[in-house]
Symmetry: D2
Subunit: 134 residues, 4 copies
């Protein structure tokens, strides 16, 4: 989190939560993609849809929050990521700040148009698959 | 629009669209509320949910886009705004960049908790009511 | 201004002032450059230095502030813009929110390196020249 | 860094560097202040001036940059932080991305006005003092 993520209400602005999801998505596709077989996904994915439910306000603190991210659907020309913004209390309870889903479309940046999910990408995405509706 | 709304793809970042919706919402509730009977709405509304479908990329230009905003639902303890981010082409066609819905909850900032929509606020919101599902 | 330009202190965050300067700079170089002879400046200028003095806090309001922008120095390989963020009070006084200077370097984006100010660009910049030290 | 810190040039936008400095400042005053004797500094400091020289473009990557931060001056009613945004190359060289100075003014948020640096705060700031001009 950044201190300036907070708005005049003293809470993290609702729009910034989507930046947090973007960070988690970039981290998953760019950084942790285990075999780099999904390299083209990392370099070209377009957001087609977001939906997000806000459950609790977030106040800045130095310690990071946790963004749990998984693949909830794999289609022919798009896939969906599920997200939960969460935290653990000192006594071990799980606090839910927001729950979200993002529909992503693989994009051919050279041709400047959407493209289909390849077999190789599907195999990578299936490793993160957890078909729980958000 | 601001030039820096664009990200490394050279398009307005998908998260920034929600800031555009916020500007339209603030403008409607703070500025254009015709009789100021909904003053408490302006000073205290919390976003409970967003959903947004992206239809076209936006590239920075000096001329503003248009954010059409209406009330699509009025409940007891929340209401929903519909939004379309649009533009007119030189030959009079309407271009749709995004369509969105935001669920808003009146908030009692003194008591720090959600509250119900008052009769007076309902009357104001009804002036903007267009119960088209987004 | 955007409502979310404000931070948890309820004032426009000090960093956002520099975004305001960027808007003024883009507006001057992209939009108002009178004869389009400085087109390459518009498409490629890199910021080498900013200095900014904050004079008053800014609170969001629907009406825009004014960013006065002029050219304070033209060198061989850089030039300096002066800026004042100002407002007029109802009784005609001038309020100064911030004063700033930005050193800009023409950039050859194809070659990916700084370049000199051309004679034509110098002529355009001289129209905005007001060699007042900021 | 966040991926969206980059602008349409594919580099971190120059304005965002100041947000990086803010993060370092908040981290130093809120988090690492060793004895919490400077607690009032953490909760109330206003930026009076920034100056920043940009030395190299920054491209997003998952690994953090380092923001070296020190106290370069302690006055009666303000103090100055020096900053360098740096990185180490694999072969041990130090890369400088930007050098900056920020003048900060202790602020009495209850009274809504600037105040003097207390003796206790001065003692804390002196621990970070390195009077190198930036």
């Amino acid at each position: 989190m950044r201190w300036s993520d907070m708005d005049a209400y003293g809470h993290v602005n609702n729009v910034v939560y989507l930046t947090y999801l973007e960070e988690a998505r970039v981290d998953m596709l760019f950084v942790h993609e285990p075999t780099h077989r999904a390299g083209r996904l990392a370099s070209g994915v377009v957001v087609a849809r977001h939906e997000i439910d806000y459950k609790r306000p977030i106040v800045f603190r130095p310690e990071p929050l946790r963004i749990e991210t998984w693949v909830s659907r794999i289609g022919n020309a798009s896939f969906t990521l599920g997200h939960e913004v969460v935290d653990d209390t000192p006594d071990g309870k799980r606090l839910l700040y927001a729950r979200a889903a993002s529909v992503l479309v693989p994009y051919d940046t050279a041709e400047d148009r959407p493209r289909r999910v390849t077999q190789e990408e599907r195999a990578v995405l299936e490793q993160f698959l957890d078909p729980v509706p958000v």
